[in-house]
């Protein structure tokens, strides 16, 4: 089952919030369905919005069993967490920008510390002072799910974010890779990542 969720955000706007394993007995079912289910998401629009890009969240492989409505909810929830990060780290804020210390909402404490160490890649810290704007070009998230007893317990989110910078440094930048999430008392949280960032 595949589900599309549309989400848009303002590239330089204000902060947007952010918003596994079953079949011990029966065994796993793994695969993807196609069930287009697009729902426009409300999004904040900053005063100097330069573009809108809708994040498309697709449910990929589900290992275990997960009801369709749960898949929809999961896509929304994980999409919101990923959006919260990409906005805080790359797309949001006022450029030129120096402070990226709040770039990782939705990360666990330890993962946030790791990301801070990798902040040149896990945010725009490396170029923030040389650009005056960011224009999102595309944002896609595909989630692979581990479900146990019809409940999602772990997610691998494959993220692709493309944006163009303006100012002294004009580049098309692509951020992509995997985020790992589990559900906590505070909702889905990113506890690990394997990301790349490149420019052209």
């Amino acid at each position: 089952m595949t589900r599309h969720r549309r989400r848009s955000y303002a590239a330089t706007g204000a902060a947007l919030a952010l918003a596994l394993v079953l079949a011990l007995v029966v065994g796993a079912c793994s695969g993807g369905d196609d069930e287009p289910a697009e729902r426009p998401q409300s999004q904040p629009a900053g005063p100097d919005t330069v573009s809108k890009v809708e994040t498309v969240v697709t449910v990929g492989r589900i290992t275990g069993s997960l009801p369709r409505d749960a898949r929809h909810r999961l896509a929304d929830q994980v999409g919101a967490v990923v959006d919260g990060w990409t906005k805080a780290a790359y797309l949001g804020g006022d450029y030129p920008r120096r402070d990226f210390s709040t770039s990782w909402p939705g990360f666990t404490t330890g993962a946030r510390q790791e990301a801070h160490r990798d902040r040149a890649l896990m945010s725009n810290e490396d170029i923030g002072e040389r650009i005056d704007g960011v224009e999102a070009r595309r944002s896609r998230v595909r989630i692979d799910v581990l479900a146990v007893r019809k409940r999602a317990v772990g997610v691998t989110a494959r993220v692709l974010l493309g944006f163009r910078t303006t100012g002294r440094l004009e580049r098309d930048i692509r951020v992509q890779g995997r985020l790992y999430l589990t559900r906590t008392d505070r909702g889905w949280r990113i506890f690990g990542y394997d990301m790349t960032k490149g420019a052209r």
Partner: protein, 314 residues
């Protein structure tokens, strides 16, 4: 055909263990299926490059996780947590650096088993299950494992088969009349599920017996890790691995914890893996051939690896 994970509950480690218990399991079976992804040390400082930079990291507490992987010799119908461990590997993974180390312990090592006097170390599993075995190995090396995984060779076979087999670098040709009469040739060889199991178990035709066998087990671990690393990017691979392990594993860890540990295992960097086998002398006690482990060496290896899962030299 079911590996078992069981926490070590020694008094000293109980508190720590309970914290860690929240964190994951799939480990060893997978860690034995240890895997990976690239290095987190490469970071971007200049975006005006066409070059793609990479960063990775996983949050797990403690930073260095220690797992005792046990290959049980249980026969069908036997409780593998109450038999004898044929393979003993104490494996550490550093979630910060991606480093990992394995300290092999000969199964015939003659050691003190708490509450049972001196015996072969693998008898600790028979006497007191995974917890006592973990404690006993921990006492020898000086590192108490956060987890103990016990697996049957049959599951191990299945797991290797599931990932498409592994490749190992075999330093010397050897065979075994019963397990592998045609033998394993020297060099880089591919092993399917059964062969990986046989490669890990054979010792009679190895020059240094139990010590060489332990080293072969570590070669198999490396091979599994390399294979898993190569497939970690495949959608659903980690999730299926977790589920597969859960289907064959007794554990009191939650699926969430298993998933997290699996991702940690997947982030071990094979270039940062170091392995050593606790050496010792051969003796005879009560008519039985035993290994008299070099306790000083075991402690030195433990001291070197304890905090960062890295061993300088064996």
């Amino acid at each position: 055909m079911s590996p078992v994970k069981s926490p070590v509950m020694s008094p000293v480690m109980r508190t720590r263990f309970h914290k860690v218990v929240r964190l994951g399991t799939i480990g060893l079976v997978l860690a034995i299926a240890a895997f990976v992804v690239p290095d987190s040390a490469v970071k971007s400082t200049e975006v005006a490059l066409v070059k793609v930079n990479r960063a990775d990291g996983v949050d797990l507490t403690p930073d260095v996780v220690w797992i005792l992987a046990v290959g049980s010799d249980a026969r069908p119908g036997e409780d593998m947590t109450r038999t004898r461990g044929d393979a003993l590997q104490l494996i550490g993974m550093n979630t910060r650096t991606g480093a990992a180390s394995a300290i092999g312990v000969p199964r015939d090592s003659w050691v003190s088993i708490p509450g049972h006097g001196y015996e072969k170390i693998n008898a600790a599993l028979y006497f007191g299950g995974p917890q006592l075995l973990g404690q006993t190995v921990g006492n020898l090396v000086g590192i108490q494992p956060d987890y103990v995984f016990v697996s049957r060779f049959k599951f191990f076979q299945a797991m290797v088969k599931d990932i498409g087999g592994i490749t190992v670098q075999n330093p010397v040709a050897f065979d075994d009349t019963y397990l592998k009469p045609q033998g394993f040739r020297k060099g880089r060889i591919h092993l399917g599920g059964y062969d990986a199991m046989a490669f890990s178990r054979i010792r009679h035709n190895l020059i240094r017996g139990d010590f060489d066998r332990s080293a072969n087990q570590q070669r198999v671990l490396r091979g599994i890790q390399a294979r898993v690393r190569a497939r970690a990017h495949v959608p659903g691979f980690i999730e299926r691995g977790v589920l597969s392990v859960m289907q064959h594993l007794y554990t009191d860890l939650s699926p969430v914890e298993l998933f997290r540990l699996a991702q940690v295992v997947a982030h071990v960097d094979p270039r940062r893996i170091t392995t050593c086998v606790v050496q010792g002398g051969i003796g005879s006690i009560g008519g039985a051939s035993v290994v008299l482990p070099n306790v000083d060496l075991a402690r030195r290896l433990g001291n070197e690896a304890r905090n960062d899962a890295t061993i300088g030299h064996c």
